[in-house]
């Protein structure tokens, strides 16, 4: 019973985040903007269409969107959301959590190479470069959390124990949250790293890899990326707003308000910043790396 509930929450609410980001950006630009539910309309529209496959592609190209969606949904099984416990926690699932996104990225890169287009190959190489830098930071943050809580299960690492160390190690949370936010922006191809709105520029990263997908497949990729945003965002909310022993309802409300504030903040970042030049992106991730490193040093220094 828990698993369908978890999946339905993720599936129902994840496109809303994109809608909030879109509305925020429109507000800053002084426009009315697309309706809040536009991502839902987009996904439904794409699901109703048929797919076109190039004759040079193989089954990998068709499998990629399904694998992406499946990986994102599976990772949501490990993530507690507000009052809801994670349905499938096990010892060391933190590696699976990171590995699932690695798998999704791997199959997307293969699919991009599968089309034989040099344009997509370029995007694939960029995606690989930046995500491997982001992954180091992600794991440093995981190490900090593991050291603080002495646990290796994701749902326990972000639970009660973490919230009790807020008072002793508040500074570490600041560093960890800051560096993880940069990872979040990188992983979800949001603005300082990648511009999700451009489709015809040589500078784009993630969007260039899905150029050849259409219809149902494109819908799955879009949906999968919103699920990824939701689950990775939920991790940040769980770190900054750890669950405590109050009623499920209050925790759920807190969780969803937190997610909306997160989407708002991403919209604000996207409105205030321009996309960074490609050679400046490693520098951004380097800042995230140094932040996480300092956090780790502080934790080690405190001997916790």
């Amino acid at each position: 019973m828990e698993i369908p509930l978890h999946i339905s929450i993720v599936l129902i609410f994840s496109p809303l985040l994109l809608g909030i980001i879109g509305k925020t950006k429109a507000f800053f630009a002084g426009r009315w903007g697309p309706p809040l539910l536009q991502p839902y309309y987009d996904i439904v529209k794409l699901f109703r269409k048929g797919s076109v496959y190039s004759t040079s592609t193989t089954w990998i190209f068709q499998a990629a969107p399904i694998v992406c969606m499946a990986a994102a949904l599976t990772s949501s099984m490990l993530m507690p959301m507000g009052g809801l416990k994670a349905p499938l926690p096990f010892w060391g699932d933190i590696l699976l959590f990171a590995g699932l996104y690695g798998l999704a990225r791997f199959i997307m890169i293969l699919a991009a190479l599968d089309t034989g287009s040099s344009f997509e190959g370029m995007g694939a190489s960029r995606e690989a470069t930046f995500s491997c830098l982001a992954e180091i930071v992600l794991f440093l943050d995981f190490i900090i959390m593991a050291l603080l809580t002495k646990k290796l299960v994701l749902s326990q690492m972000v639970g009660d124990v973490l919230s009790s160390s807020w008072h002793t190690a508040g500074a570490v949370f600041l560093l960890m949250g800051g560096s993880y936010y940069m990872v979040l922006l990188t992983e979800n191809a949001r603005i300082p790293v990648d511009d999700p709105a451009t489709h015809l520029e040589l500078t784009m990263i993630h969007e260039v890899m899905v150029l050849d997908h259409s219809g149902w497949d494109l819908g799955l990729i879009l949906y999968g990326s919103t699920v990824k945003l939701f689950v990775l965002g939920a991790l940040l909310i769980n770190i900054l707003l750890p669950s405590h022993n109050q009623s499920v309802l209050i925790q759920m409300v807190e969780f969803f308000v937190g997610m909306m504030v997160l989407a708002l903040s991403m919209g604000v970042v996207e409105s205030c910043m321009a996309r960074l030049r490609l050679n400046r992106i490693p520098q951004l991730l380097m800042v995230a790396f140094v932040l996480a490193l300092v956090g780790l040093l502080v934790v080690l220094n405190k001997g916790m």
Partner: protein, 210 residues
């Protein structure tokens, strides 16, 4: 204690951001912000009249006067950004992370008589000193170098918080005055460099003739 830790970490954080920044205007603003947080630290360590005077003195000098002076200077010599640092930004950041690690290592070995305040104070002070030092050696523009020097001084100021109760106020005021005069002299030097060479890069000072 939580607030002191937060302040110390944000001082180191701002140091890291200064390292990775290439716009002079933003660098000065970041330095002012760092000094503002720094000026609050004495109040958290030893609340009292002594700390109050020190805090206000630091605030006036480092948050108000010096940034104003810098803004005046960059308007005067019209430079906007550090075009070519000696070590590229990415490498500087990585080196900065390494140096912070070294700072934590050193301070864990250091045998201090008094560890009562916060066990983050000494490592953070060392880290900020290291960051300032790195900024000083890795940049060519005179103004960035002065900011590097001041960031280093911020670290020394942090370190001096350990001895806040024991140091006479006169000594601290003397130090602040020294720094102010130092920066003033450096400002004049920058002005002269830019008048002589049409740029504020210290590379020009390597040659014997202009």
């Amino acid at each position: 204690m939580l607030w002191l830790d937060l302040a110390l970490i944000s001082i180191v954080f701002l140091g890291i951001v200064i390292l990775g920044n290439n716009r002079l205007r933003t660098t000065i603003q970041l330095f002012a912000l760092q000094s503002f947080i720094l000026s609050l630290v004495p109040l958290m360590v030893h609340p009292g009249v002594h700390a109050m005077i020190l805090s206000v003195g630091t605030f006036i000098l480092k948050v108000v006067i010096m940034p104003t002076l810098f803004f005046w200077a960059i308007r005067h010599v019209s430079i906007r950004r550090e075009a070519q640092p000696l070590i590229s930004y990415g490498k500087t950041l990585l080196l900065g992370g390494f140096l912070i690690g070294v700072a934590f290592l050193i301070s864990s070995r250091l045998d201090l008589p008094d560890k009562g305040i916060s066990n983050l104070l000494v490592p953070c002070a060392f880290s900020v000193i290291m960051i300032g030092f790195l900024l000083l050696v890795s940049r060519f523009k005179a103004i960035t170098q002065i900011i590097g020097y001041l960031v280093m001084e911020n670290g020394i100021f942090l370190f001096a918080q350990l001895l806040l109760e024991k140091t006479p106020l006169l000594v601290e005021m003397g130090i602040l005055l020294d720094i102010f005069v130092g920066v003033l002299v450096m400002g004049i030097v920058v002005n002269h460099i830019s008048q002589e060479f049409d740029s504020a890069s210290t590379v020009n000072l390597i040659n014997l003739r202009g």
